[in-house]
């Protein structure tokens, strides 16, 4: 049977100051498990961008991370407003983030492209008015 470690985090949509806690915790857990620094970095960046998106656009959500000897699977699920045009959202530089987010160093339309760059597989399922689920996989082997 496959050996799987599952981690689950609730992302608070109203608290920008706590964004990054889930990715930092996952980073620490992977480091402890002896996962290579390159994989840890990719997972941490992908998750942090995802967390920031959930705070900015979706009023929070739930992150589930499954670690197997072969890969790290991440699911970020929210009940936010959804993405109208995923293809457009994936373009570098396209952003619907408000100005106050830009003043904090985000909102430049780099989040989703960064997540894609850091993952070996990425899928976005979104329904306007219902929510978005992003799944990303980073291979360990």
């Amino acid at each position: 049977m496959e050996n799987t470690l599952t981690l689950r985090y609730e992302v608070d949509g109203e608290d920008f100051t706590r964004a990054g806690e889930a990715s930092a915790a996952v980073k620490r857990a992977l480091k402890k498990m002896g996962v290579s620094p390159e994989v840890v970095r990719k997972v941490a960046i992908a998750l942090y961008e995802g967390e920031i998106n959930m705070v900015i656009h979706a009023d929070g959500g739930v992150i589930t991370v499954e670690v197997t000897p072969k890969e790290v699977r991440m699911e970020l699920a929210d009940h936010g407003k959804g993405i109208e045009n995923i293809e457009l959202a994936m373009q570098e530089g396209y952003s619907t983030a408000p100005d106050e987010v830009r003043s904090l160093g985000f909102g430049a339309g780099m989040g989703l492209p960064n997540m894609k760059k850091c993952s070996d597989e990425m899928k976005i399922e979104s329904t306007v008015g219902v929510g978005t689920t992003v799944t990303m996989t980073v291979y360990i082997q």
């Binding site: 990054g20 990715s23 620094p37 160093g105 985000f106 430049a108 780099m110």
Partner: protein, 112 residues
């Protein structure tokens, strides 16, 4: 060379020492747009930025930079400083602009 050695040599203010006395610095990264910084800053870099907010600390931790230098007189407020202490992130500060700071760090690293 450690971040604290850098601070002493260049007269940078040590706002939080964190792991600054044990980390070895390798390379410099300058940037304020956090998604770009996350993609390109490398572990053990000196990261120079004017962005002084909670996301700065998160990005510093995720990228595992050796220290953050806040340029142009930027500083963290008390609650963020407490967070930097908790996360053991070395924070240095200077009134100089980013370019001048990077240049000074670069010269020092070249000599070492």
């Amino acid at each position: 060379m450690t971040p604290i050695d850098l601070a002493n040599a260049l007269g940078l203010q040590v706002a939080n020492q964190g792991g600054g006395d044990v980390r070895e610095v390798s390379g410099i990264y300058c940037g304020d747009l956090l998604s770009i910084v996350m993609s390109h800053a490398q572990a053990d870099n000196v990261w120079i930025t004017v962005m002084a907010n909670v996301n700065t600390l998160a990005v510093a931790e995720l990228t595992d930079v050796a220290c953050v230098i806040l340029s142009e007189g930027m500083s963290l407020d008390d609650s963020l400083m407490a967070k930097a202490k908790e996360q053991e992130i070395c924070i240095l500060q200077t009134d100089e602009p980013t370019f001048e700071t990077a240049l000074a760090v670069w010269k020092l690293l070249e000599q070492s």
